[in-house]
Subunit: 157 residues, 2 copies
DNA sequence: GAACTCCTTCAAGTGCACTTGAAGTCAAGG
DNA sequence: CCTTGACTTCAAGTGCACTTGAAGGAGTTC
């Protein structure tokens, strides 16, 4: 193991595009461990950590939480960093998730279409208010869109 | 205004399908105010509150946060509960939001499709890891947002 | 050896949308 | 009058994924 293959937390952070605090957090969570520490107690990572971080961020993009990601990583033999075959297997299951999420949003959109110009908002009758899906779109704190859109929440008058 | 048109917090909660604590929270947030209080300081709501709650929950379903919803409600003349016309105008703008969100998820899905069987997870090359959109999906349930991890700062993986 | 930057730990804070708990009040039935 | 259940307020807690801050150590450059 060549010292040139070892990277400091700052280098990993810069390369992976995450904050150093995130890497320490991931370590606390058991997601990405440094390979070793220096005499002075600094973290040193293998380059492999970059791949692990890429895996985590990609999984997050697909909608997984860190607990699920940890579970996925834990299932890999020896806690190894995902290989192509691992990735293939896991990502195939994520696709279903993504599809389900898309279908949910589409059904909400359809409900909304049915509601535009209706405006009943009836607790009894409104399809938008009475989701035909059991699954709610939001968990606590969950948001769909971000942006400085608050200004145009109201349409033009 | 007939007393028969006034409902307690428990009745409103049961009808609207929300917890009483949620209604108190909405009051703190200025979203749904009780019409008056009894001599004994209990909240009494007009039936209109049901409509306001329906508006809020529908907007949440579409992906708006309470701050945006408050802004939308606050711009209605006299802070009135949304009319059909108001609803029509507002919901039309929300549709764009929903469409954008669906497009985002579809693009992620396409990226994922391109990645299944590839598994490169290259910080440089992986389309999934390198979002072409600013927004990402995160968290359990689904969270849309996240400042970009301006992550093109790196070598190979 | 001083200056400077990067690193360390640990605790606490953030944002959102609520929920829970404690301690007390009100209204109706028996 | 007593009990019961729905209500009141206010403070604090929850979950997630981090971020921030304090206080100090490590490593490099002049």
């Amino acid at each position: 193991m060549d010292a040139r293959d070892l990277l400091t937390i700052g280098q990993i952070a810069a390369r992976a595009g995450v904050a150093t605090s995130t890497l320490r957090y991931y370590e606390d969570e058991g997601l990405v461990l440094p390979a070793l520490r220096t005499d002075g107690n600094r973290r040193l990572y293998h380059r492999e950590a970059l791949r692990r971080i890429a895996f985590i961020r990609s999984a997050q993009r697909v909608g997984l939480g860190l607990a699920e990601i940890r579970a996925a990583l834990a299932q890999l033999p020896d806690g190894r960093t995902p290989t192509v075959a691992d990735w293939s297997r896991l990502s195939a299951t994520w696709r279903n998730r993504l599809d389900a999420q898309i279908r949910l949003l589409e059904s909400i959109r359809d409900d909304l279409d049915g509601c535009i110009g209706c405006g009943c908002l009836s607790l009894d009758r409104c399809r938008l208010y009475n989701p035909h899906d059991a699954a709610a779109v939001r968990g606590s704190g969950a948001r769909y869109l971000e942006g400085d859109t608050s200004a145009d929440v109201l349409g033009t008058d």
